[in-house]
């Protein structure tokens, strides 16, 4: 059992004849057992990163290792749910699950998907083409979990779900992941969707890693400062600063004590992500658990 779920080194992928870079120079390490939020604006490279980790795309630069091996060698131990939740429309739900059993003969556990289907009040005899988007998501997740993956890659998993189903399915997912120590990587551009269920963050922007690391450490490394306008924020790293009238609000990475006369707050996940999205020029911050331990 390896303790690293995903390790990327200078990972890059370009598409087409014009070599448009979807990802470039991405280096990060995701320890096993984490629930990682993968976020960033549209077109940041989230789906490309997940497809690379799932072994569906070949990197054009650098490398990516999954569960200590190449993604292709780890195929049996990972599960992936694509953004559009592809399923065979002509099959029934039961037929889709039989497909999962047939294609994962050494790992399939029928109880998990059957429970997820039953929780959604779905008829196993219903054809996939007759299902709503949310119901399809449920079947796709059931298929992914039936494989008993060690790494679960989910691309925009909750986009089609109503709030109730989202809450219920997320709870099922998290309980299952906690029971089995599954590493989960979940992409979304809705930050609120991820808050509360994730303990690791990977923020992409323009194909590069902007933030990576344990969520608590990343939040602890940033401070939300409120002071008078005209204050100097040297020598701290300023991610974003805004002046409203005489008031200055800034998100900084403190390089030492922030001094008197200012209000300092711990940012929320949403504030952290939004500040970084609003200022693409802010330097990236990659925190590794091992580096933390060494320091």
């Amino acid at each position: 059992m390896t303790d690293t779920a995903i390790e990327a080194a200078a990972l890059g992928r370009s598409f087409g004849r014009r070599r448009r870079q979807a990802l470039e120079g991405c280096s990060f390490r995701l320890p096993a057992g984490r629930v990682c939020a993968l976020t960033g604006p549209n077109g940041a490279g989230k789906s490309t990163l997940l497809a690379l980790a799932a072994g569906l795309l070949r990197p054009t630069e650098g490398s990516i290792a999954v569960l200590g091996r190449t993604p292709a060698a780890a195929r049996e131990r990972l599960a992936y749910v694509a953004q559009n939740k592809p399923l065979h429309p002509q099959l029934t739900i039961a037929g889709t699950l039989r497909l999962g059993r047939d294609l994962n003969p050494r790992r399939w556990d029928a109880r998990v998907p059957e429970r997820i289907i039953a929780e959604g009040d779905l008829d196993p005899g219903a054809r996939i083409r007759s299902l709503s988007g949310g119901q399809r998501t449920r079947v796709a997740l059931a298929l992914a979990l039936g494989k008993r993956p060690e790494l679960l890659l989910l691309d925009e998993p909750m986009a089609d779900l109503d709030p109730l189903a989202r809450h219920q399915l997320m709870a099922t997912l998290m309980a299952d992941a906690a029971d089995h120590g599954t590493t989960v990587v979940m992409s979304s551009h809705v930050v609120a969707e991820l808050e509360g269920s994730c303990d690791h963050l990977l923020l992409l922007g323009g194909g590069r890693v902007r933030l990576a690391g344990p969520l608590d450490d990343l939040l602890a490394a940033h401070t939300l400062v409120t002071g008078r306008s005209g204050d100097t924020l040297e020598p701290h790293t300023v991610v974003e600063s805004r002046t409203t009238g005489r008031q200055l609000t800034a998100l900084v990475r403190p390089a030492g004590p922030l001094g008197e006369g200012r209000r300092t707050d711990r940012p929320s996940l949403e504030e952290l992500v939004l500040a970084h999205l609003r200022s693409p020029e802010a330097p990236p911050l990659v925190l590794d658990t091992e580096q933390e331990a060494a320091a």
Binding site: G55, L56, R75, Y80, H88, R101, D102, L103, R106, K147
Partner: protein, 334 residues
Amino acid sequence: MSAVTAGASAAVKESRAPHGLVPALLRVHRSAFLFWLMLTAVCLGALLWAAGPGADAALAEYRALGCDRPGPGPDCHFSGSAVGRHQLAVAIASGLVTLLPVLTAAWAGGALTGREMENGTAELAWTQSVSPARWLAAKLAVPAVLLVAGTFAVTLLHRMLWSSPKNSLDRLMGWYEWHDDRVFEINGPVATAHTLAALALGVLAGLLLRRALPALGVAVLAVVSLVWVLDELRPRLWPTTATVTSAGSTPNPPGLVVEEGALTATGARVPVPECWGELDCPAESGITGYYAVYHPSSHFWPLQLMESGIALAVAALAVVAAFRLLRRRTGAAV
């Protein structure tokens, strides 16, 4: 010791394709496979009927018209209803087999790979415990086995019908020659080879274009062109035989004529003169005889094997290209 054995057996197990890939494929493409079964059944049924009751009825009608006697009347150039039904049955079978490469290419490009690439179900399979290469191998092998089995059965039955004793069906089947496109193809491995090439080209088109409708169109176009080129090329696939007849008679070689014309006293080959058929034509035009370059019926097998070989080579190239394409895109070794 037991640990070593267990390790070895685990390694063997690891390297084997999941057993479920074939049932999974049959389930996903069930309606297409059922359609193929039905099509094969229609072909075999039509040929069986034509060989049995259809032939008997057609022969009875033929005899009733007196066409089996020497010097048959003019009615014998027209077919009665029983003869017509017999010919229709054979034409249905050979027509479907002629159409088969087009149907196969359309399905292989459109449904077998193109649609799966377009809607992402291919990636769904690749993130189960099945590598892209194994997925592709199954996608090629399962339909190939079914297509070969069906086409082979139809070919065998048609050959039986074609080569049945001269005194019964010869005159009915005599409407066609062994080298007519549809007869030639269905009577040997060429029909099967065309179909396999269509499968491989369709699969390649689907992987290349990654969309169902364009892949369907390109695959059909590719296969129609391939079959057309092979039809055109056929007479050149084996050395021909030449025959010369005297000026008094006309050349009537029993086979696939590649070239025919007239010979002058110097032995030069010239076009048949316009006065051909008139009594004093040879003297008038200086023709000493007629020649024909052709394939006798003994060239049937060499021609069949050459053409099948070319079609299978095209299929093999397409298969290699498909595997390389998949490998380059996904980077997965096995």
